[in-house]
Subunit: 164 residues, 2 copies
Amino acid sequence: MNIGKAAEASGVSAKMIRYYESIGLLAKAARRENGYRDYDERDVHDLRFIKRARNLGFSVEATGELLALWRDKSRASADVKAFAMQHVSDLETKISELQAMTRTLRHLASHCHGDARPECPILDDLATPGSGETEQDAQVSRGRVLRPRAAGAGLRSARRAATT
Amino acid sequence: MNIGKAAEASGVSAKMIRYYESIGLLAKAARRENGYRDYDERDVHDLRFIKRARNLGFSVEATGELLALWRDKSRASADVKAFAMQHVSDLETKISELQAMTRTLRHLASHCHGDARPECPILDDLATPGSGETEQDAQVSRGRVLRPRAAGAGLRSARRAATT
DNA sequence: GCTTGACCTTCCCACGATGGCAAGGTCTAC
DNA sequence: GTAGACCTTGCCATCGTGGGAAGGTCAAGC
C-alpha cells in the first residue's frame, strides 16, 4: 500500500507519516523497488493507534511510550493506567488554567457597557492589574497539553469598527 | 532604565522584550549613547499590559490589537467586549475538547485493573477505537489558545516499571 | 590603571507538530 | 507518448520562548 492509501486509511497525513518515521516513532517503512514506501495492515493499525493517542492529547513522545507499552506483552496495566492518569492530571491542570481565564474575562466583560463609549473595565484591568477587578491569575504553566495554530479568521471578526 | 530592570519591573523577560520590539508589538525602545535600550515607566506599563493579556491567553497578535484599542481613545467599548468574548469562546472550545479527552481517559481507566497483569482497556481502545469503549472523540481543533512546552519530567514518572 | 563580573548588544539554534512548496522521479490511464 | 496523479527529499514557516555564543560596556574593588 502506498503512503497515500495508508494516510487515507489511518487519518494521518502522508506528511506526518514521514515525519513520524523520521523521528523514530514509526519503524522505517518497507520500500518497493521504485523507492516508494510500502505499508501493510499492521502499519495502518499503528498509525490509527497514533492518531487516536494524539486525539486524546498525548504528545508524540508520550504516544511513543504508549506504543511501546502496547507492544510490551509483559507490561503491567498499572503502568498504563498511571501513565494515562498522569496525562489526565496534566489536562485538568490546563483546563483549570483556561477556566480561570474565562472566569476573569467574563467577569470583566460583565461590567463593560459594550456600547459606543470608550470606557471599558476590560482594558482598565489590563492596564492596571491588581487594582480590584482582577481575580487570581491563571498564569499558564506552559503545558505540554495543547497546541497552537496559525491565527484563523476567528478573532478578526470582532475587530471591524475599531479599525475601519 | 535598562532592559534588565524593565524586565524585573514588568515580569517580561529581557529576551521577550527584545522579541516584542522586533515584531512590532512594542515601539522601538529609546537608546542611550552606549547603545543600551532605555525604558521609562510608560514602557513598563505597556509591558505589564502585555504580560497580563498573555496571561489571559491572548495571542501576541491579539495582544497587539488590545494595545491598539487601549491607545485608541475613540474606541467603542462594544468592540473591546466583542473581542474579549470571542476569545472566551475560543477558550471554551478548547476547554470542551480537553474535557472530552479527560472524560474518555477516565472512563477507560476506570475499567483498567491497574495491577501487574498486561490486559488494559486503555491500550485496547487505542488499538481498536470505535469498538465500544470509546465516546465521541475530542478531535483537537488546533487552537490558538494554548501553548506547548518542552516535555518536563511529569510524564516520566509513570514509566518506571514498564521500562526498567 | 586594571581586572572581574554583571550587564548589555546582535545573531543563530532549538523546541513540537504541522502545513506548504519546489524540483524531480514514477506510475497509470488514455 | 503524454497528462495527471502519485511518490521522493528537502527547505521554510508557524508561535512563543529559552539557550548560548561572541563581543561591547560599565561599575566596583584592588
